[in-house]
């Protein structure tokens, strides 16, 4: 058991219990770096609030967000309506609170869709290579050749408006980035010795792919997902501006900015309030994305 033979050696074993760093769980280290910058904490807090609001929207809204009162339309902010009312006399604050849910749904679902499909394709293309990779990558190139908003607009026009279709069209337009990033990651990870090691110990391709390649490719993708959540929320606003919004009376922040900006002169708060929310959330996702990037993999700086 001992590898040293000098009798006067202070320790019988060379490496027992003697660690380079004190034992910190990787998530502890992650948290320490992640929360090391104040702006990141700011972003994380915003997102936490956002999620909290989305979950508790039913209880914390002062009014029914769909309850209209035409006689009380376009009222400026008051103690009864902190952010005033919109053209149909609905409480803006309540709608913003409910909009959190929709906006989050747009972000999470469209990005989730894109990430799921994109990562699967990217994994296959990167790991299998050959004609499958060529096929996938050419299709991705083709999608990449069409600007995302243009693509989303065209898909949106094909599918029609409404929450689900907005999610689908945004999702599809986001896919190419995931495929590319995932494939790049897989190709890089595939070069690693530990993938060779996996082959040498006799793992099957599937096992290697799922147990070793996939987990090690995730860091930049998690960052991309975070950044894209903001992108999707803001893109929803753009889509509804050109005419592909969610169905009324639903409220998403993007649509609310678009609906409200017609009253920019008389009731600026109608577009400012949701616009501010969009800005804050996108900012928060960006900050958290940056923080994640630093925490998950500092080498990623400059790749996203």
């Amino acid at each position: 058991m001992s590898t040293t033979i000098i009798p006067s050696a202070p320790q019988t074993s060379t490496a027992f219990g003697d660690l380079q760093t004190p034992h910190t769980k990787s998530w502890q280290r992650f948290l320490r770096v992640f929360l090391g910058r104040k702006v990141v904490i700011f972003g994380a807090v915003i997102i936490a609030i956002l999620i909290f609001v989305a979950l508790t929207a039913d209880w914390i809204t002062p009014y029914d967000p769909y309850q209209q009162n035409l006689r009380e339309s376009l009222k400026p902010p008051s103690s009864a309506h902190w952010l005033g009312t919109d053209a149909l006399g609905r409480d803006t604050l309540s709608r913003i609170i409910y909009g959190t849910r929709t906006s989050l749904a747009v972000g999470v679902n469209s990005v989730g869709l894109a990430a799921l499909i994109g990562m699967t394709l990217g994994l296959l293309a990167g790991y299998l290579g050959g004609w499958i990779s060529t096929l996938i990558m050419r299709c991705v190139d083709a999608l990449m050749a069409i600007p995302p908003l243009m693509l989303a607009l065209a898909i949106g026009a094909a599918l029609g408006g409404g929450l689900n279709n907005v999610i689908i069209s945004l999702g599809i337009s986001l896919i190419p980035t995931y495929v590319r990033l995932m494939r790049g990651q897989v190709l890089a990870v595939k070069q690693s010795d530990y993938i060779k090691a996996s082959e040498i110990i006799g793992s099957s391709d599937l096992r290697t792919m799922l147990a070793h390649v996939l987990p090690n490719c995730l860091s930049p993708l998690i960052v991309l997902i975070t950044l894209n959540l903001g992108v999707a929320i803001i893109a929803e606003a753009g889509l509804s501006f050109v005419g592909l919004g969610i169905t009324p009376p639903g409220a998403a922040w993007g649509s609310m900015v678009n609906d409200g900006y017609r009253y920019l002169l008389s009731n600026p708060i109608l577009s400012f309030a949701p616009g501010f929310c969009v800005m804050l959330v996108v900012l928060a996702f960006n900050l958290v994305g940056d923080g994640l990037r630093d925490a998950l993999d500092p080498r990623l700086r400059g790749t996203l």
Binding site: Y66, Q67, Q68, L70, R71, S73, L74, A87, L88, G89, A157, G160, G161, G162, G243, L244, G245, T247, P248, P249, D259, Y261, R262, Y263, L264, L265, S266
Partner: protein, 577 residues
Amino acid sequence: MNRSPWLVALVVSLFLVLIAVACAPTPTATPPPPTAVPPAATKAPVAPSAPAPTTAPAATAVSATKAPEPTKAPEPTKAPAPTVAPTAAVKAPTQGGVLKISTVPDADILGYPPTMTKLNDFNFAVTSLETLITFDETGAPVPNLASEWKVDVANKTITLALQKGVKFHDGSDFNAKVAKWNLDGIRTSKRTELAAVSSIDVVDDNTIRLNLSKYDSSLLITLAGPVGLMISQAAFEKNGGAAWSEKNPVGTGPFKLVSWQRDVKQVYARFADYRQKGKPYLDGVEWVIIADPLVRLASFKAGESQVTQNIEPKDAKALEADTKYRIATLASALYGLAPDGGNANSPFAKLAVRQAVETAIDKQAICDSLGYGYWKPLYQAAAPGSWAENTKVVGNKYNVTKAKQLLTEAGYPTGFKTTIYTPNSPQIIVDMLTAVQGYLKVVGIDAKIEAMEQVRYGDVYAGKGWQDGLAMAPMGLSPNEIGLLNRVFLPGSVLLPNALRPPAFQQKLAEIGAAADNDAKQKLTWDLQKIGTDDNAMMIWIHSNVGVTAMQIKVHNDGFNKTIGVPWTPAETWMDK
């Protein structure tokens, strides 16, 4: 060697340029908004002036005086009520200036009536083309290119005498032959408007006669619309036909098209050989297409245009309060929802349900809050206050209790689920329907709004129709009030295919078409209203929409939004210097 100082210098200079651009005084730095210099800059740019102090602001929207006409004005068959505005010292029109009008959407077709399908196109077309007949401010037909006409109900003919010595923009003559060619073009294009005309005779060089297969009281009015626009046959034939003519209007109108950049602008110049000497007063007209309502309004307020169309009611209200502007409003369309009639399983198959739905909606509140009072609640297929309105129709007035009761009677005490199909623009219509949705919810009807892009809505409106629920049915008003009802509800129509079409209603429509005189027509129309609303509740009416046009007060005699069927009067329009 060092590119970076250079880079920084460039950035700095770029910023400087930006700031300079932003801060630089506009070329004409007079306090009011500078008008952009018209491109046809043969003359000095029109210096913008402060509001002419001599002109008192017009009190009402329709206050402009009718300019004295230098040429003979043949008296129409029916004397127009002289509604000369009480105020306004009559000023002599001033010559010159280019009128810029901002609007949306652009025309599809400017110069070929047979394919001109949208009312919107007519808006632009009258700038350079003229119709045979037009309307005065009361809506009565008055001469235009036809100097007079004779209707022979018994023999089923209409004889039109044409103005003499009229030239097209290309120099060719306007005469009976050309007029017949124009109308024949419409007839062979599968359009339905002239379906009643069996043939057209050239009586002499300045007279044509329309021979009818059956008498149609709306025919004269039709000739005041797109169908009656006259274009140069010579130019059409010389330049290769319809495709060219569609984009190149060559008419007898006061302005000639200089250039048309689709969705951007149309530029017109004064036609020197216009048939009315001394007119037009303006040197040119420019239509500027600005899609976004807010930007359009801002552009107008910044003085980039003198007239702007399709103003939203809320903005109209604000402009109305401003002495620099004048606004003109006119009921333009009847907005209602068409229930699916063909489907026996649909709740809407029951009269009580249809009545309940309409009763549940507080139309007045909608008109007040979204329409700012410009909109009027609608209870039958006629603009409130028009001759077609049957004041005896009870209608379905707002009454939540009654609505609930009706629903219970119909077997839906807890309401039902349904869908409202609508185009997704303009936004205000979606807002209006959202309000409707809210009211329906109160009585338990859970309506989902399916807001579609225009082209997709085309399938609902004129194609496959809709499976269940209500479809938004904007019925543009025409001079004879029921023009659109004709198109929708007569047999053979492809519009609103699922709408209810009670036979009695269709019968009545046909009778109205054959009515010999206006009194008979009015009486029949009143019957029609009763059948449509009280007997059947075949449409769920919401409001009568208004078109709003705003202009600077220095614009006179423009004729915008004065009469249904006359988009504006370009020949009469003039501006203060």
